[in-house]
């Protein structure tokens, strides 16, 4: 089946990101297609490329990136939720006159329309809240 995940919890604050990653890995291991993870509300913090967790803790940002690269999962970050929280890719940094970048590929800033789109297009949408 085609799945999508909606993640709304911040990493290192709530278990939501851990639960979503565990579920995502189980999905692909079972042969399902995970089309996209959509990051909204505090879930957008999962895209913070500068995250430097202690060595003995899971690196969630890297874990999402690995999942995306291995299984062609789109990592879609709500642009409106991200901008106000200080998460900008290079294009948005230029557009807002900021001298720094806090989001990079495979995470992509995108509109809420994508959430509606994957929600409708996929067979299953599973939400992980904080």
């Amino acid at each position: 089946m085609r799945y999508a995940i909606l993640l709304m919890g911040a990493p290192y604050s709530d278990q939501a990101s851990h639960s979503a990653l565990r579920f995502a890995r189980a999905l692909v291991a079972r042969g399902h297609r995970l089309e996209a993870v959509f990051f909204y509300h505090d879930g957008v913090y999962n895209a913070a490329r500068l995250a430097a967790p202690p060595q003995d803790e899971p690196h969630l940002v890297d874990a999402w990136a690995a999942l995306a690269n291995e299984h062609r999962v789109a990592l879609q970050v709500c642009i409106a939720a991200a901008l106000r929280r200080g998460l900008l890719d290079e294009r948005e940094a230029v557009r807002h006159g900021k001298d720094g970048v806090s989001v990079e590929a495979p995470f992509e800033l995108t509109g809420l329309g994508q959430l509606v789109d994957i929600g409708t297009r996929c067979d299953r949408l599973v939400t992980f809240g904080p």
């Binding site: 809420l112 329309g113 959430l115 929600g119 949408l125």
Partner: protein, 124 residues
Amino acid sequence: MQEHHDDSDLLVILRHAPHGSSWLREGLDAALVAAAFGRRVSLLFMGEGVTALLRGQQLGPLGQKGTAATLEMLEMYDIETLLVEEQGLSRLGLSSDELMLEVECLSPSALARVLSGHRLVLTF
């Protein structure tokens, strides 16, 4: 009611009060975008979310807008199905005629039917 809840619909459940968090605004944003993309959208106000519909809301502590103005625009977006959890209202001692918009009150059994009747459900 049946015609509102066919299989092409999106149900957005709003469970949070205005100003206390961004949940209400972010849920409404999702609803507005979906409507702009041509989806038929229903809103369900549950729990504390029913307070989003109270009259007389004002700016937040640092002057931020809140959500009342957005709710007033729903009709422009063709979002016309506004459902309210009856129990959510009564728990706060409110009645539907005190609300700023016309809504349909749902008994507990109707609530479950509404959830089953939508193709996509987003909880905020």
